[in-house]
Amino acid sequence: MRGLSSSLRRRWDAVYHRASIQMILSLSFTAVAVVGMVFLGLSLFLRFSASNNALLAENSQRVLSQVNLNLDARLREMMRVSDTAYYQIIKDADLAEEDLTRDLELLYYTSRESLVSIAVFADSGDLIAAVPLTALKNSVSPERESWFAAAQERIENLHFSTPHVQNLFVDPDYRYRWVVSLSRHVELTKDGAIESGVLLVDMSYGGIEQICKDVDLGSGRGYLYIVDGAGEIVYHPRQQLIYAGLLEENNRAAAAYADGSHDEIFQGRRRQVTVKTVGYTGWKLVGVVPSENLWDDYGQLLLFFLFVVIFSIFLLVFVNLRLSAWITAPMKKLDLAVKKLEAGQETVDLAVNGPYEVEHLSRSIQSMVSTMRHLMDDIIQQEEQKRRSELDVLQSQINPHFLYNTLDSVIWMTENGRTEDAVVMLTSLARLFRISLSRGSNIITIADELEHARHYLTIQKMRYKNKFSADISAADGAEELYTIKLIVQPILENAIYHGMDYADGDGKIRISAFREREDVVIEVADNGPGMPAEVVERLLDQGGSYMAADSKGSGIGLRNVHRRIQLTFGREYGLTILSEPDDGTVVRIRLPALDGERGRSCRKEEPVEPAPETSGDPQAGTEKGGGQ
């Protein structure tokens, strides 16, 4: 039992987790409604059939009571006739002197409708008087009749016989009439002597039939019959069929029933039997209503009920499916939208009209998605900002080698009395630092950037003993424009280390700044050995790391500059390298042309950074020194 229960629960869970809300709603509504309907219907049906049975039993008992009253009245009338005949005619008469026939005849005619005959017999069976037929058949012996014997055996009682053919009297018309005999013991006076006798009152059998024939039991489907105490049939609407053996009745069993309603099965058929005992006689009125007739109606009713249930189930399934589809449509729409969202679709309509809860859920999801997108944007922005800041910091850091070499050069110059050169170098270094700091701002004018480049070149030229010359120029209006700082110096550093290292006073570096429509371009060109195309191609590749053949740098300084520009201004800006082996290198820095106002606004947007510390690790630097 427990195993079955858990198995059912598992199956239900499996179905529950696989099924849609609409299906669960439809099934649940339908199941609950069907169970309720069947329960209610069965309750009503059983209640109806029980009430109907009780009503039928009650009706049968009422009908039987009425029949009993009528029969009782008829029997009382017979008893009254018998009493009258005995107490008013026979008891006072002396048979030796009086003939009873005339008085009996008068009595007979007062009740001739229900009487067949009245007769008085002596104890020996001899006829004393009889009406309306007066002659006794030769062949009969009244003293042998059962009614005669009963009267003699229990002299204090009145005795009703079962129906029998009256054959006592000579009838010229050969009429043999069925009668119920009422007999009693009487005292006869003859010559002053008291003798025993029997008074017989034959009641017309038709009188009983008249009382019983129109009885309506079970709306015409039932019938009534009468049995005596021994179960012999007194009256039955189909009596002759029973006598002929064409029909059987359960009369013997009915005689044993107590008064009230009983269910019996007779010849394989169930029927409701109601019994009522008739006073004086011990007869029993038996009302029979075949239950199969009831069940004919019940069967029809049950069939009708089944059809109604099937129809209702079908209607319920249909309505519940439609109703649940209507209820769950907003949820389905929301689910679909979320699935699209999960699939990565950018534009998803999460606005759903529906019940309060669904709308609330829809709004919440929209809000969450919006918040999530904002957070993601913020994270991306923060990551970019962080990356940019890191790059900026890296860029801002002074290579210790560069600082060491420069200061070493200054010492050397001072020791050798070249104080003027030392002053120039130190001045340029100081200017270089001042522009590098720029009071914490990352955005400076192109003029400052070029000035920074100029000082760097001054220092490097002194260190490299004028192996190369440099030329810095700016087109009109270019110097007022803004740029992120320290983007030229790493390019110059590369140009010097890779292009000017082997120059012998003929190296040339040219820096020019100019506008190109809405952009500004700072071009750094050198006449160094140049690079093959594949090296150029991989130099700015963010994923790769190119190590030059001479191992003086990995090009990371160039990539950092390129990245900083793209992070700050977008992917359409950055570095372009044009180079051919033995034909020099041109690095073009493309920036948006930020005029004064836009430049100032950019400076306001950028976070205030702490002043760069010089103790950082110069990842992008060269071994020999130089600025980042």
């Binding site: 038709g206 006598y243 069939l303 079908f314």
Partner: protein, 315 residues
């Protein structure tokens, strides 16, 4: 209407409509208990001009007619035991469209053709006399009944004694069979058998000669007639016969009839109508066994069993 729309709306609505129609039909269809078969018209063609001799059978027929929703039409020939008239009645009833016919045939051979054509159009059931061309027969085994009568007569007739058999010109009927069977038995038992055919007066004259030790009548009206003749004779012979009318009961009671072989006429009539109705309604009918008969004498006629047999309950 698209396939999806039909599946979602059209099909369920269609099925709902069908269920609704069935429900309406069920509501309007009467309960089985309230259904009655179609009224069946049944003709009963008697053998005698007067139906008194089979009054009890008629009561049984009427009871069956009431039970089985049958309308009975009783037809009597102008002349008793006229096969020609019976043939005419049979033909007329078939032509008028009777669904079922009960016939007391007077002569098998004379009515064979009419019965054959009647059987083709209606459920023909015979009483007293069985016919091959009829769909059914309800009655006693006539040969056995005749032998029973002959055996009863043996008791009162010494060897070589004469027994008069009342011949009602029923040679081609079941009654003739009874007589033939009785005659064969009596002759076998060395009694002289004489046949009589004639009026009551002629019978009285024949019996007055005193040679006849017993008389046997093989059907009710002849038995009643013979009993009436016996009442006029000073030394009447023993009378045996077949039948269960009130007059026969009186004859038994008064001693004019020594014994009577009786069948339950009420049930005979009832079963005849029931059989014919079932046949006409094309219902299954089990072949009927010959009905039982009883020998009733003065001594036992008021025993409950015989009382119910001889005297149908009347109100």
């Amino acid at each position: 209407m698209s396939q999806q729309r039909f599946t979602r709306w059209g099909l369920p609505l269609l099925m709902l409509g069908i269920l609704m129609a069935l429900l309406l039909m069920l509501t309007l269809y009467p309960a089985r208990a309230q259904q009655r078969p179609e009224l069946l018209e049944m003709s009963v063609i008697a053998r005698e001009a007067d139906g008194a001799a089979w009054a009890n059978a008629r009561r049984g027929m009427e009871q069956a007619a009431a039970d089985l929703y049958v309308e009975l039409r009783f037809l009597y020939p102008g002349q008793s035991n006229s096969s020609e008239e019976q043939g005419q009645l049979l033909r007329r009833e078939v032509e008028s469209g009777a669904s079922a016919i009960l016939l007391f045939p007077t002569d098998r051979e004379a009515l064979a053709e009419e019965a054959r054509s009647a059987s083709a159009k209606a459920a023909l059931v015979t009483l007293e006399t069985d016919m091959e061309t009829a769909a059914g027969y309800v009655g006693v085994d006539n040969q056995a009944l005749g032998e029973a009568l002959g055996r009863a007569a043996l008791n009162g007739v010494p060897l070589g004694g004469t027994v008069l058999l009342i011949d009602g010109a029923f040679a081609g009927s079941g009654i003739g069979e009874r007589m033939a069977a009785a005659a064969d038995l009596l002759e076998l038992e060395e009694r002289e058998v004489r046949l009589f055919s004639g009026t009551g007066d002629a019978l009285e004259e024949a019996l007055a000669r005193g040679e006849i030790r017993a008389v046997i009548a093989f059907e009710a009206s002849k038995l009643e007639q013979a009993a009436e003749v016996m009442s006029r004779l000073e030394h009447p012979p023993l009378l045996y016969g077949a039948g269960s009318t009130a007059a026969i009961a009186a004859g038994l009671e008064q001693g004019r009839i020594t014994s009577a072989v009786a069948q339950n006429a009420f049930s005979t009539g009832y079963l005849a109508v029931e059989t014919a109705a079932r046949l006409a309604r094309r219902e299954a009918v089990e072949p009927l066994e010959p009905l039982p008969f009883f020998t009733v004498r003065r001594e036992n006629m008021y025993e409950p069993e015989y009382q119910k047999l001889l005297f149908p309950v009347t109100w």
